[in-house]
């Protein structure tokens, strides 16, 4: 009778030991899984972020060198990083709804850029920051000096509502062809 009782107690201890080992193993597996998913999740986010950054870097460089906005008078020498403000004005006017060229303009550039907002802002000398149109561009202080009545040209405005975005800037020289003046601006690209 005594040996049966001691055998039962031994089996109980064995069971408890086995349960403890199982708990430890399960805890180790859970910790491993938590780490694995945490890192695979964050590395996926990082990869996605890096891809977006790469894409933004490529896009901003290529936008700055678009023949549609680049300073063509320089004919390649030093033209990199120089943007013609009259070309910007034409493009920004075409990107306004109601303009007869709007549909054609948007169709052409949406194939190229997709969901994106591209604008150029004059930084120095400081301006009012207003969107430039033909009326503001013709202020009396122009062409004697760079216009300060406006300082922003949105040349492509196709945002994606509710989507995440990457914003990048690139310094550029802004060229005013009528008085051959150069100011400092920045090209701004928001990619969705």
């Amino acid at each position: 009778m005594k040996s049966v009782k001691s055998c039962f107690k031994k089996a109980q201890i064995g069971m408890i030991e086995m349960i403890m080992v199982m708990i430890v193993v399960v805890v180790i597996i859970v910790i491993g899984m938590v780490f694995y998913f945490k890192f695979s999740g964050s590395s996926m986010e990082k990869t996605q972020e890096r891809i977006s950054e790469d894409k933004a870097a490529v896009i901003i460089s290529s936008v700055a060198q678009l023949p549609e906005i680049e300073c063509s008078h320089l004919k390649g020498r030093g033209a990199k990083g120089c943007v013609d403000t009259l070309k910007l004005l034409v493009l920004s006017m075409k990107d306004k709804e109601g303009n007869p060229d709007f549909v054609e303009h948007r169709r052409h550039y949406s194939d190229l850029f997709g969901y994106m907002v591209i604008s150029v802002e004059q930084l120095h000398p400081q301006t009012s920051g207003k969107e430039c149109d033909i009326s503001i561009f013709g202020l009396p202080d122009y062409p004697e000096a760079p216009p300060i009545g406006c300082g922003n040209w949105t040349i492509y405005n196709n945002p994606k509502k509710g989507a995440g975005s990457v914003f990048r800037t690139m310094p550029v020289a802004l060229y005013y062809p009528t008085n051959r003046a150069y100011t400092l601006g920045q090209l701004k690209v928001t990619i969705y």
Partner: protein, 153 residues
């Protein structure tokens, strides 16, 4: 009894080894995640170069027609060993213009701006002492080198 304790020790060792293994993977992945993006470095270098190139094209003085670009102003300032631009001493004018450009583009960015002929400094503004990293752009005007450096802390 001895054999049983040996088995227990082996089990404990296995658990310890497992923990060390998980720890190593954690450290490895954490180190990998902390490494900076190469693209970010390239983009920053390109930005400095682009800012300097834009600066060299600026026409900051509207008192004389046709307007002189900054590269012409710098060359004339160097060859005349001083002189005036827009009624100001040219060295001060160039430094103030670079300061305005930096304030307009990135006001929080510390920088170093130098105009050199060989090793001789013609103009020097700011410094990157104490910066852990720098990104520089330069433009050569024959024998004059214009250098802009971003100080990154």
């Amino acid at each position: 009894m001895r054999k049983k304790s040996q088995t227990e020790i082996m089990g404990l060792l296995t658990i310890v080894v497992l923990f060390i293994f998980i720890g190593l993977i954690y450290i490895m992945l954490a180190g990998k995640a902390d490494k900076g993006s190469l693209t970010r470095d390239v983009v920053q270098s390109e930005k400095v170069q682009s800012l300097l190139s834009s600066f060299m094209q600026l026409t900051p003085c509207y008192s004389k027609v046709p307007y002189d670009q900054m590269d012409v102003i710098i060359k004339e300032c160097y060859t005349s060993s001083g002189g005036l631009v827009c009624g100001e001493p040219c060295k001060e004018f160039i430094i103030a213009e670079m300061d305005d450009v930096m304030k307009a583009y990135n006001p929080r960015q510390e920088y170093e701006f130098k105009i050199l002929k060989g090793k001789e400094e013609f103009i020097s503004k700011g410094g990157c002492t104490g910066a852990s990293e720098t990104k520089a752009g330069s433009v050569d005007l024959r024998d004059i080198t214009i250098r802009l450096t971003y100080c990154i802390k």
